[in-house]
Amino acid sequence: MDFSPRLADIKQRLFPFPLEIWDGHTHLLGLPGKTPEERLERLLECASRLGIGRVCVFMGTKWQYDPTPDEMQEANNEVRRAIERFPSRAFGFVYVNPNHQVASLDEIRRHVRDGPMVGVKLWVARRCCDSALDPIVALAHDCDAVVLQHTWIKTTGNLPGESTPHDLACLARRHPDAVFIAAHSGGGNWEIGLRAFCETPNVYAELSGSDPTSGFTEMAMRLLGPRRVIFGSDAPGRSFATQLGKVLGASVDDDTKRLILADNLKKLLAPILKKKGVPV
């Protein structure tokens, strides 16, 4: 292994001042390990190399676009096993599917209201502007949980149930008191995606899951301000390195980097963490 002075030099250049980093978007799929716990251990090992202290994790070891109630349960049980092994470093979000509303609400009660999870994850089963999401958002809000919704705008065409940032803005307007994280903020077409959130102050733009194209963080800052932008990686599919570079390489001041890398997410999670007695 290379513990050379060169590596120390690189780290000094990248982290010239102390930084706390929370990653708002990680997964277990794609990691080595026989168990969810082993997978999360590997994820945290790599996260530690770049100073990432805490991660939010969701969706289990197998992914389905439109999971059945049993598949949702299995995925959430896996995540719960993993986070319970590393309670000081990993937060869980419960994965739900609005096509199975009753089962989704049961999962939120089981893992968030009565369990250790702190957020709700929605992916691509149904576009999030649909009214089927309303009871899910309402229950999440009652639990003080944040709702993290995947959003992409693909030039090549979205999946049938895949949400755009505009879909999320529509949902957020219907639930002005709930807190939403726009996972990916529209992905590679972030210039279009970010604009959708200008008039929805309860939506936070998350930076994960796209190439580290210059200007993303600066535009998010310009449109939404420093307190509505959140770091996330989408590891292990994406590299912690590439995604962290979006913030560390951005032309924003150090205080803003601190907000994006940890403080903003901390503030969003503070109510539910306090309720669960988790020290921050």
Binding site: D9, G187, P212, S214, R238, T242, G245
Partner: protein, 326 residues
Amino acid sequence: MTDPHSVTRRGFLGSLSAGGIMAGPTLLHFAQVTDSEPQVASSYRLIDTHVYLFQWPFRLIHSAETAELVRSLKNAGVTCAWAGSLESLLHRDIASVNARLHEECRKYGDGFLVPCGTINPMLPDWTEDFRQCVENYKMRVLRLFPGYHGYTLDIPEVGRLLALAHKCEIGIQITIEMEDVRAQNPLLPVKPVEVTPLGRWLEDFPALRLMLLNCHRAVPPQQLAKLVTIGWVYVDLGMLEGIAGLERLTSVIPIERICFGSFAPVFYFESALLKLAESHLPGGSLDAICYQNAETFSHRQPPYPRKGGFPMPYQRTCAVWLASSG
């Protein structure tokens, strides 16, 4: 500015066919360029093999001004940057593009920026562009953009171009893609370049040095591994994704073929630098990735000996290279 016609094209191409010109004075000149490059103050060397000057057509990039780019790269520890021109993507007057690139590197780089001219083999008289880059601008590395210039790697002109590069000991960088197809402007979709035809050219030109830029999303690991065993194929770090990506990449191809390349300023430079810290690599690997492999690629150094010698698949090509370089 250098007179682009100081060496006639007839003399240039004629001497190539006679097999003499590049093995003599041009190589000597390259050695002189190497010797005269300024020594950097940093204790570590870091060659960024993949940067660009000028404006990305689709968005304003903060450090696209050359002076600002040079300043930011130096602050990040880069000691030398191989720069291509973003104008190459859509401009058709490639000779002017290369002239501006050469001048910009001379004006701002102070030896720090190494210009990598563009050749578009679909253009009439492209060999004149090649000659200007090699003879007048003393370029050691040239860059191709097949996706943006509308050709595939199996056409005969690519063979001619690679034959010239082989003979002149010019490294060729091929950009496999510039952006995620899912994120492209819908009016200008450009697919990643299909690299399968390279196998044939690598067999035809065994000492040819190729570097695939931004290849990791489009080229499957098994295909990459196969190409590396056929010839002198290198890769950069642009678009290398997934956690501990370098650890995974070194399980597929040898460290000797991996060069640091950031794709800045189109991508945030820090994203590439962080990759070096995200993976645990065998001792000495960082030096290989950070500068030694780039020097070997550009014919500034023979392959650096590594503990235990060269991996077996490379002994053949290494011997070919040593023989061809006299």
